[in-house]
Point group: C2
Chain length 141, copies 2
DNA sequence: TATAAGGATTCCAGTGACTGGAAGGTCAAG
DNA sequence: CTTGACCTTCCAGTCACTGGAATCCTTATA
């Protein structure tokens, strides 16, 4: 099958498949007489693996590692789990950061009248009611 | 004060301040005789505003809008609140997406022995136990 | 058989928000 | 007068694609 069909079968855009080939995430595809990339079921499975891993937030580098592990029949599940755990912590960190943002922002929003008047706790906070602590300005001029 | 001092005073790296100037987020700074950028308290306050807004996850474009609003004495808090609310929804969307990832990944991790053996539910899921539904493969060759 | 449509190919550029580094200019202290 | 800290500009790289232009291949139809 051609790249378009493989794209539809895997859920990865053709452009992205070419990109994955270019960066070495996947092997260069075989070519037809007319220089078209040719894919088989095996390649599509790999592509789906990649798509699923990406959808779980793994970086392309991590996906490369996962692919290696997947293909390595003598792998230990320990290594896979470690990789996944590292990523999980990553996600947890991001969630925590977003939650902090969210809560701060939400509090500000709740305190804002949201009417025609200009005075606004959101802007007030951004302008300095916030964390302007521990900042020592040395005057050099 | 010079850019390094303004950087320390605002918490924004000198490089980033130059970048903000380049993209037009802030006005080009005055220059000294030796062509050094010169900043005053006013500029530092703007920089701090930007830093705080960025730390709440606003994009640079949104920060530009917030700066406009901040400077506009005839603004309505309604507009600020609307902008903040849009961003809040954005954050909520991201949190939700990350949580979904997190839960899926966590479940997979919990089912993984994490020992010397190769069999691993994480890889099994990536390889296709997952959402391979609604995918119609038309055979064109 | 000509041609048109719908793929495919390569290559270049842009996204967002910086960050690193090279090559060189400026300034204050010793 | 030199040293070292700081500043300048400019170019490149990050991450993971995505858009678009110009051109080529394949297949179906008039």
């Amino acid at each position: 099958m051609n790249i378009g069909t493989a794209a539809r079968a895997s859920g990865i855009p053709a452009k992205t498949i070419r990109y994955y080939e270019e960066i070495g995430l996947i092997q260069p595809a075989e070519r037809s007489d007319g220089n078209y990339r040719v894919y088989g079921e095996h390649e599509v499975q790999t592509l789906r693996f990649i798509r699923r891993a990406r959808s779980l937030g793994f970086s392309v580098d991590e996906v490369a590692e996962l692919l290696d592990l997947w293909r390595d029949r003598s792998r230990s599940s320990r290594r896979v789990k470690a990789l996944a755990n590292r990523h999980l912590e990553d996600i947890d960190g991001k969630i925590a950061a977003l939650k902090t943002m969210r809560d701060t922002l939400n509090e500000l929003i709740e305190r804002c009248h949201g009417d025609a008047r200009p005075d606004c706790p959101i802007l007030a906070d951004l302008a300095g009611q916030g964390d302007v602590a521990d900042m020592e300005v040395e005057k050099s001029d």
